[in-house]
């Protein structure tokens, strides 16, 4: 490889590197924006929303990333200002932990109760009746057998 080729190769690497890091930054902005609720649109994420406040939030996320802030620090930035509701997924702590565990708990309890009910029912139907036949029952059986 001669010097000229090396030169263009290095320039190419530098350009690709900057484009790549730009794309990375965009992706990180989107990832974090996806975790935040649009304050105006409620049902949408900041990533999906084109509301003015969401656009501002996306720009602020970008700035904070460029400052070297971590995802957790950026999310904390918005939680400090808006409250926990700004997160689309509740944090797995405190009262919010109940929201995460409740569906699973309901399913487990339901399955256990159902299992217990079915076991109890099956036990009742499989216990044989060992009482001896009464005289009336014996007579009826003999009568039916004669008819056959």
């Amino acid at each position: 490889m001669n010097i000229k080729s090396l030169y263009f190769f290095l320039i190419g690497i530098a350009c690709f590197g900057s484009v790549s890091s730009g794309v990375d930054l965009d992706n990180r902005v989107r990832e974090i924006a996806h975790q935040l609720r649009c304050p105006t649109c409620q049902a949408m994420s900041v990533k999906e929303s084109d509301a003015g406040i969401s656009l501002n939030m996306k720009q602020r996320i970008r700035e904070l990333l460029e400052e070297g802030k971590s995802e957790e620090e950026i999310l904390r930035f918005f939680v400090d200002r808006y409250g926990e509701w700004i997160l689309r997924s509740p944090k797995k702590e405190g009262f919010s932990l109940l929201l995460w565990t409740m569906p699973g708990l309901i399913i487990v309890i339901t399955v256990l109760l159902l299992f217990q009910y079915l076991r109890k029912k099956s036990r009742m139907t499989t216990i044989p009746d060992t009482r001896p036949l009464s005289e009336d029952e014996q007579r009826q059986i003999e009568k039916d057998l004669k008819r056959l």
Partner: protein, 176 residues
């Protein structure tokens, strides 16, 4: 465990679920009804330049109650409250109350036209292009007003057009 206990547990469980459902549907889904995370906290300092070129900062108004209103010219409810805030400013401005209006996500021309149309004369400044001040205050929509007491603490946040009664009640306690 007997049947009655199962039944009771089931009822309590269902009541708990209903409470959580109500919380989710009616409380957590309407940001305007969720108290600001900044209530009872010190108001974040900010600096701005008013539409007529005056540099202002929140810290210069220490010791005075502040009504900090976020608005925009395209906001319908902002038109409803424009006269209310201006009238309150005329009544309380000389007594030491500070009225600041921050325009967000708006063009300078549209903001100025709005100011002129509604005769607003208190301190009015645009937020920067990335909404720094509005983000620092956790603004969810416009109009949104923050009541800041003499000690620089945010005492209330009002989403939607502010009423005269709210302003009077707040300032009555601050300007004694």
């Amino acid at each position: 465990m007997n049947r009655k206990l199962y039944f009771l547990l089931g009822i309590l469980f269902t009541i708990g679920l209903v409470i959580i459902l109500i919380y989710g549907l009616f409380y957590a889904s309407r940001p305007g009804e969720i108290p600001s995370a900044l209530i009872s906290q010190s108001a974040k300092p900010f600096q701005a330049t008013t539409f007529d070129g005056q540099a202002i900062s929140l810290t210069q108004f220490q010791g005075r109650p502040v009504i900090l209103n976020f608005w925009a010219s395209w906001c319908v409810a902002c038109r409803q409250e424009a006269h209310i805030i201006e009238a309150a400013y005329q009544d309380y401005g000389k007594s030491g109350a500070v009225f600041i209006g921050i325009a967000i996500n708006d063009t300078r021309e549209a903001s100025l036209a709005f100011i002129h149309r509604y005769g607003k004369t208190y301190l009015l400044a645009p937020d920067d292009s990335t909404g720094t001040i509005s983000l620092d205050y956790g603004v969810t929509a416009v109009p949104e007003t923050f009541l800041i007491d003499k000690n620089g603490v945010i005492t209330d946040k009002i989403l939607g057009a502010i009423t005269r009664q709210t302003i009077d009640h707040f300032l009555a306690g601050q300007l004694q």
